[in-house]
């Protein structure tokens, strides 16, 4: 600690340069942390929406291929299954938007509440959903986005089925991030029959299953897939987290690019900081020669020079991390004010992001300082004196 005064005094030698270098490091760490919140945000999102007891059952050939609706009943009878609900993609476009702007599914009104008890839809609203054929339960994100409220009537034009359906909103999924809309399967079934399709709906796009016990999830998935083996619609079962992780698979490439950019930003800042450290060492060649001459050993000189770069980088990095937390909090507030700014609320600073930011700044400081510090320290004192005097 007795050398701390010397290290701090040297950092204050050229205040403007120290401030500019610190500012560059701070901004870089801020940028890196903000970028890192995206993968962290996706992970948090998956953890938030995915239950460890829920299973997705879909056609092995792909999500666009359906399964016979009757298979749902077979799944429901499997030992360990607490509830199962068939989902069919409706692809409804809200009349004002003209395109599909939120996910909407036809579901079994008497089953969906049992499959999603963690969604905390009030029992009365679930009961209304069962009672009214044209009832719909809508996620709070979509409710806010369009300014809907319970009791409102809306019309969706299906981009998949040859029907336009009117709905009355009877319930809300009380989750700020939920964009879902559930409609009664029977309502769609009847509408299709009325449109000249005597078989009605007859299919299930995905069957969502809730296991009674997380321990039994793997066994249930094996049994479901075994049950459909050699049929026209073989199934592939997976956990909810795995399903959404695959569903958002395209985001993984995007995240890989984000991580690549993050790495390049970090590398750039190492070069900037190393350049500053080199300039500082070069300017002080005379002083360093004197320090060597009066007895400062090579290791001590190396350590103090390295400490200068590391202290600057760490303080700046810490400021960058704190700024990241502040900025994301502000973004969350903005996202709450205006539904169209909703994605801004997706930046989640996890403790892992904070630790990575702090380690990055330490790494930048040490890497930036090590080369000039080593170069200054390793030269024999007489060679240094000859160079500068």
């Amino acid at each position: 600690m007795k050398y701390a005064g010397l290290v701090l005094a040297n950092l204050g030698r050229n205040k403007l340069r120290t401030a500019l270098t610190g500012g560059a490091i701070m901004l870089a760490v801020l940028l890196v942390c903000v970028l890192l919140t995206m993968p962290a945000g996706l992970d948090a999102f998956l953890n938030n929406i995915a239950s460890n007891t829920r299973i997705s059952v879909h056609n092995k050939a792909g999500l666009v291929y359906a399964m016979p609706y009757a298979f749902t009943r077979k799944v429901r009878q499997i030992d360990g299954v607490a509830a199962a609900c068939a989902f069919v993609w409706f692809g409804g476009a809200f009349e004002e938007a003209g395109r599909v702007t939120f996910p909407n599914f036809a579901v079994e009104a008497d089953q969906v509440g049992a499959v999603y008890p963690d969604y905390d839809v009030p029992a009365q609203q679930l009961a209304d959903f069962e009672r009214y054929r044209d009832g719909a339960i809508v996620g709070r994100a979509t409710m806010r986005r369009y300014g809907w409220k319970i009791g409102d009537r809306i019309t969706l034009r299906s981009t998949v089925w040859p029907v336009n359906l009117d709905f009355r909103i009877v319930g809300e999924i009380p989750n700020d991030r939920s964009p879902l809309l559930w409609m009664n399967r029977d309502y769609l079934d009847e509408a299709l029959k009325a449109k000249g399709r005597p078989a009605g709906l007859g299919i299930a796009g995905i069957i969502w299953v809730r296991a009674a016990d997380p321990e039994r999830v793997n066994a249930i998935m094996r049994t479901v897939d075994e049950l459909s083996r050699n049929s026209d619609s073989e199934t592939a079962s997976e956990t909810e987290k795995s399903f959404f992780s695959n569903f958002f698979g395209s985001l993984k490439g995007f995240i890989a690019i984000i991580l690549l950019v993050t790495g390049l930003v970090a590398l750039c800042i190492v070069f900037i900081a190393a350049n500053t450290a080199s300039m500082g060492v070069r300017e002080r060649a005379g002083e360093l020669a004197i320090l060597k001459a009066i007895g400062f050993g090579r290791r001590l000189l190396f350590a103090t020079l390295l400490a200068e770069a590391t202290v600057l980088s760490s303080v700046a990095g810490l400021a960058g991390v704190v700024s990241t937390i502040g900025i994301t909090k502000v973004l969350h507030v903005f996202a709450g004010w205006n539904a169209s700014l909703g994605p801004l609320g997706a930046f989640i600073v996890t403790s892992s992001v904070i630790v990575q930011g702090i380690f990055l700044s330490l790494f930048v400081g040490m890497l930036a300082g090590v080369v000039p510090a080593f170069g200054a320290a390793r030269k024999p004192v007489v060679a240094t004196l000859h160079e500068v005097f």
Binding site: Y3, N10, A289, I290, L291, K292, G295, F296, G297, F389
Partner: protein
């Protein structure tokens, strides 16, 4: 480093120093032998390139000879590694340079206390010793001043305080008056003499300054890496006295 006054503190035995510069080998010193008694104020004089600074570097443990031995208070410096030499210098040698070379971001007190960072003294003791050293050189009223607010003479005094703060037996000064006006140069030479007289320090100085002859106990003359002896040394000394007289007639700078 215990040294009896009058006994040789520094023994230089057949010392040569050669550098390789590009494809050339430069003979900076050739077979120099010399004893410097403890408690003496000694000047190395000679024209540029004569090897006097090289000799000073060898005596202070900054450099090592190509041949021969440099023994200071019984310690053969040739045997020490770069790091061992650094530790030896920190303990036994006080260094003064022509251009003062103070750390601009440290106060006079902190500059003087720098060598004490290498000791086990606590902060209060380091400060106390630094202030004592500054009092010795007459700068007790400049403790908190930064180098840029001090005159050249005051900066050199701070450098001298830094050199004596560890209480070394050997003080080595390389052109300490080279960047000072006549009045300050005389004051610095007088201060070095006082260090020898009142504190028993051995002072070895390289200088071009003819005024130094009035202050030193012994002056050694070098030319082209060779230590002049006998009539050659007397002629060199006389030439310096003449130039000192001429300089005196012109008055101080």
């Amino acid at each position: 480093m215990d040294a009896t006054p009058g006994a040789p503190l520094i023994q230089i035995r057949d010392v040569s120093r050669r550098y390789v510069r590009g494809v050339d080998e430069v003979h900076a010193l050739e077979r120099v032998s010399l004893d410097i008694p403890a408690g003496h104020f000694v000047g190395f004089m000679g024209p540029s390139g004569s090897g006097k600074s090289t000799l000073l570097n060898l005596v202070s443990g900054i450099d090592r000879p190509s041949e021969g031995d440099v023994i200071v208070a019984g310690q053969r410096l040739n045997d020490l590694s770069e790091d061992e030499l650094a530790r030896w210098r920190a303990r036994h040698v006080g260094l003064i340079f022509q251009f003062f070379n103070l750390i601009p971001v440290l106060s006079a007190r902190d500059n003087v206390a720098l060598p004490l960072l290498l000791t086990k003294l606590d902060k209060a003791e380091r400060v106390r010793r630094a202030e004592t050293a500054l009092r010795v050189v007459g700068l007790e009223d400049r403790l908190d001043h930064y180098p840029r607010t001090l005159s050249g003479g005051e900066q050199q005094r701070v450098a001298i305080a830094r050199a004596i703060v560890t209480d070394p037996d050997l003080i080595v000064a390389d052109e300490p008056t080279g960047d000072l006006d006549a009045r300050n140069a005389e004051a610095i030479l007088d201060l070095l003499r006082q260090l020898r007289q009142h504190f028993g320090k051995t002072v070895v100085m390289v200088t071009h300054d003819p005024r130094a002859l009035r202050f030193v106990d012994d002056a050694y003359h070098l030319d082209k890496g060779v230590l002049l002896e006998g009539e050659e040394a007397a002629r060199a000394q006389e030439a310096i006295r003449v130039s000192a007289g001429a300089a005196g007639a012109r008055g101080p700078r």
